[in-house]
Amino acid sequence: MSQQGPWDAIVVGGGHNGLVCAALLAKAGRKVLVLERRHVVGGAAVTEEIYPGFKYTVCSYVVSLLRPWIWRELELARFGLELLPLECSFTPHLEGSGLCRWPDPDLTRQEIARFSATDAERYPEFGRTMGRLARFARHFIDAQAPDPASIWPRDLAQLASLGQAALELGDADLEIQRKLTLMSAADLLDEWFESDALKAPMSCSGIIGTFLGVRSPGTAYVLLHHYMGEIDGASRAWGFARGGNGAVSEAIAASARHHGVVIRTEAPVAKIKMSGNQATGVVLESGEEITARAVVSGLDPRATFLRLLGEQHLPPEFAKRIQRYKFRGSSGKVNLALDRLPDFTSRPGIGPHLRGDIAIAPSIDYLERAYDEAKDGRFSSRPYLNVVIPSLLDPTMAPEGKHVMSIFVQYAPYELADGPQSWPQHREAFGDAVVDTLAEYAPGLKEAILHRQVLSPWDLEQEFGLTEGNIFHGELTLDQILFQRPAPAAARYKTPVRGLWLCGSGAHPGGGVMGAPGGLCAKTMLQQAGV
């Protein structure tokens, strides 16, 4: 296929969502060009060799929500994607042997029983309940956001069928769903369990990527995420992509190219071109202009509407909504190249407990303190950490005998007391806090570090274009999901600007390596003959 226009669609940003959208459009016969600012595609799903021989899965590090239908339609397995299951969840403690939750329910029961016998009994029931509710939640993530304000028969039918699905849950599950929607993760878990050692690591999924604490109302619903993962059709929590999360993007890109998508890297877009109220193409930073029938943005809403487009092209009410849309990045990332594996005092030696994710979340109070500390613009001195050692699952990630470690960190507020631009002065101190925290549980860690990459929210913004360093293109709070994401007038990929579509994580159903916004955007465009 020709490398030249005219293009049916230009996708701005080669993040995984942009790539999914481009691939599906091309598969339907459209001519699509992807423009990516960086030298690699993938955005927040990339693998890079920052230190010779060691491959970092730089930002995102686990896969759970990648939609099976996208996987199928883009034949990702054929294009090289392979997921390795993460085997367990380990929570080390300063004293005692910590808690490890295994795929084997009996082993998990024994582990939990060391803290509470009743919790051990209830744990499987909780999992089953969440599993049922996760199936209900899929009604929301695999379709356009419902629109409660619409009176179109199709939309009313969608609302009715969601209502029907809710009623089918039955009174008991509906009640739990109600609580999940409105409660804090900590309060909800309090209703089920008594042991802090269990509740703390479970509550963490409620706060990932948001500047809220485990006791903040509205964080409980994210607990479902942990039970929504589907890998190869099987319901499973988390997986690791062989080759890191860059491999996800690479597979999607390969599929896209196969369908004829042209991908240009190091092609930063400076502006979306307008003619009247119609987006007609883009202008690159180099000054090059490219026209297309449709422009699809894989960037976040603020970058798309306020930076590339400009307020003057937007209806004032809509512009106000976009300005109010909250980012408030609060997460950072530390990647380590290690000479040897860490040795946790809780469970000495090298064992299967290292092959899953490792959470530094000893208690609910610890997590809440980490949040409270960050409210006034400081990074947590003792943060929540989620650690994965990819090289244990995929030895090609590091030279033989050596390892890479991926550490996801909260809280690191974008808005530091001295302003976000002061992050470069605080970056290494932040990295030290992370390593010091982990070293309390795994002494000797510091001596094993060969190289360290520290990414603050400021760095995520500078390097990956994530506004305010928000990992999900905007907070996933109740006021910013479904028909409110990013604003009612743009919640279904179509925007108030003709010919401009939104396909990134700032659109429904939101962030995470799942491809759903990109996939649903493409479907919508094709349905509405938007391209």
Binding site: P148, A149, R324, D479
Partner: protein
Amino acid sequence: MKAIVIGGGQHGLAAAALLAREGLTTTVLEAGSKPGGLCRGREFVTGYRHTGIHHDSDALRPSAIAALALEEHGLRLRPAPPVFVPSPEPERALQLVASDLVRRQEATGFTAWRASIDGWRQVIGSVLDAPVPPLGVGEAAWPVLKRAVELRMLGAERMIELLRVGVASAEDWLAEHLAEPHLRAAIALPALIGSYMGPRSPHSAGVLLLREALSTPNEVEGGPAALIDALVRVAEHHGATIRLGKQVRTLQLDTGRIKGVELVDGEVLEADVVVSSLDPRATMLGLVPPGAICVPEEDEIRRVRCRSTSAKLHLALSRLPPSASRPDLSPERWRVVRSPRHLEQAFDDQKHGRLPRTPALDVRVPSLSVPGLAPEGHHVLSAHVFGVPARDADAWTEQERQALLDRALAELEVDRPGLRDAIVGHELLVAPDLEQRFGTTGGHLMHGEHALDQLWVGRPGPTYCRGRTPITGLFLASGGVHPMGGVSLMAGLLGGRAAAESR
């Protein structure tokens, strides 16, 4: 037919008045020496009275006043006085009234904010006024659908906006309208007292919105204590008997049906209907004999969260020092706050079990408008102190109480220098004191936290939110049941009606 109402507070008396009017032989059993509960006026220092632990009464529902014909029984309304927000910087001190706001250039934002609430007032009111419909299909679908249609009739934009604001944080919502942080903190404060939230907690805007939508331009002349007087008159007018000093020890049941109550003093009273105005936990876990309800029904109650984050302070003052920032005003209501950040810190402090560095105070000086509360020229100051940890009674040593008092006074003295020297006596009631004195679980003033999941069908839970219980003949009339706590009378009417209808 005999009815017993447990507790002679606002809700118990309202329920009793309804039942007596319906022709039931109604007896109110009140543990205290006077009726009123949290609305009871009390002499806390010899010669000085307050007008209730709850000190505001502007949420009193006009429909409730009408339903009980309270104005025929001596209830008088007056315009609620404006709220004054002092500040160390005199030019930033202001009253939440139009003229002052114009001076501060906050009028446009404030007006827009009020207007958006006014646009939602009716829908919110109709949800709060109606009993919670049973969820599910069939006949139940109708009221739910009706609410949905009402919501939809707001127009797409206002409906979506309501759904957004309802789950936002108070600080985010207010910041969209008001530039002055200190003003935002003052407006948010009342929503935080009674919930387990700081201004940055999601959903705090929803709670604030409910409270604002419930507030009226009027309040009861004489405060909550005068409301109790009127309620006692209505209840007695309809033939109800109010027995004081009668504490119920347990409910007596006969195969899942109520038979009567047994008092602490051993007396046994028979009844066909019992309405409890104690909080749901105190009733269902404290008065219902063990094993009378099944485990899931008991769990539903056990899960009601009642964590108090405030204390109550009463000061007897020999004089009221003038406001340093606005000596020209003599406001009855103040909110002593610094900024949303300080409010959030106070919330965090209590969360981690510490005394608040800077407590925030919702203040009222009832003696400015109610005669006879204090000797001539003297005054009574009543304040909710926000940011107080929920600790056990024995953790509240004299020293800790004094430390809390000192911090509260320090905040008050910023605008009222000399206040400390005017103190004749004081009463500081922390949660365990309130629990002990009034029997409310956790000393919680709202009979259960205000939180979105603890409202509507969640107040206190699907089994109980209509004022009914699994025990035939036992009903709940408490702020812990739909719609919410505070001085509105609504929960009392709801429980009373459910009981009356059961005949």
